[in-house]
């Protein structure tokens, strides 16, 4: 029976592992993105249908991401030449310019470091991962999608909005939250604070579940 090596997976709250990699826009390091939010995402392969729809969708939300001080960095185990040929094809055939760099991870250094290859899905391709990294280079969100399911860009934008709202206002965001909706006030940690909480003017369902508008 074939032995399966444990996969290294960086975790939420940890520093994102540093790397240096060739991309379609030159050699980039993770640390080049310090000070910006970064969405590092992998796709299985160039010139494949679901990935093409995703790249077009990522390009479409890129202006919205830039308004949020957020950059995009794609990755697959294809070569730089393949990436360049693919993005040129997407522009020529679909009329969409891919404005962000794509890592050519031919030796699988970055994809191994980030646990992007899930051998039970594919031993040679990266699954669809999304790593949201904050300006201090801490991992804030990790998403995994199987090869057959394209990502939802509105959800990715929503996560960026939620994380930035959390950081700015020290609040949490409830299920299905979107910008403009009430946010959750962090629950009190003492009985005294719980008693006081319901008198603080928030919209409280009970002492542990209080909402406020920003």
């Amino acid at each position: 029976m074939e032995e399966t090596k444990p996969i290294s997976l960086p975790l939420i709250g940890e520093k994102a592992p540093e790397f240096e990699a060739p991309t379609t826009q030159g050699t980039l390091r993770l640390s080049d993105y310090k000070g910006s939010w970064l969405i590092l995402f992998s796709h299985p392969a160039d010139f494949t249908p679901v990935c093409t729809t995703e790249f077009i969708a990522f390009a479409e939300i890129y202006p919205e991401l830039q308004k949020r001080n957020t950059e995009l960095l794609g990755l697959s185990v294809d070569s730089t030449s393949s990436h360049i040929a693919w993005v040129r094809n997407v522009e020529e055939k679909m009329g969409v310019k891919i404005p962000f760099p794509i890592i050519a991870d031919l030796n699988k250094d970055v994809s191994t470091l980030y646990g992007m290859i899930h051998p039970a899905q594919s031993k040679t391709e990266t699954v669809r991962t999304v790593f949201i990294i904050d300006p201090e280079q801490t991992l804030r969100t990790i998403l995994y999608y199987p090869l057959t399911t394209g990502r939802n860009m509105q959800e990715i934008l929503r996560i960026i909005d939620a994380l930035q709202t959390t950081d700015e206002h020290s609040v949490a965001t409830p299920a299905n939250w979107k910008p403009g909706d009430p946010v959750v006030v962090p629950p009190p940690h003492t009985a005294e604070a719980a008693e006081a909480r319901v008198k603080e003017g928030y919209d409280c369902k009970d002492w542990y579940l209080c909402f406020k508008k920003l």
Partner: protein, 72 residues
């Protein structure tokens, strides 16, 4: 685009960066302001230009080398 072409010469972006440094932009922040490029591109471009011998980095400040002056 990378600041240094495969033939080792500064690319169009590289020339823009070198001209910004020549005009006094000696930190990544100032180069970003001068060129309008995102910071990740500025940092990687400056690194490429240092590695290719067009820029020197001393005390956190970038300056042109003789090679860069010849290229401009």
């Amino acid at each position: 685009m990378p600041c240094v072409s495969p033939d080792g010469k500064p690319s169009e972006t590289g020339i823009v960066t070198l001209k910004a440094v020549q005009a006094g932009a000696d930190t990544p922040e100032k180069v970003q302001e001068a060129t309008g490029n995102p910071m990740f591109k500025v940092r990687s471009g400056l690194r490429d230009l240092v590695n290719a011998g067009y820029l020197e980095l001393k005390g956190g400040k970038y300056s042109l080398t003789e090679t860069a002056l010849d290229a401009l």
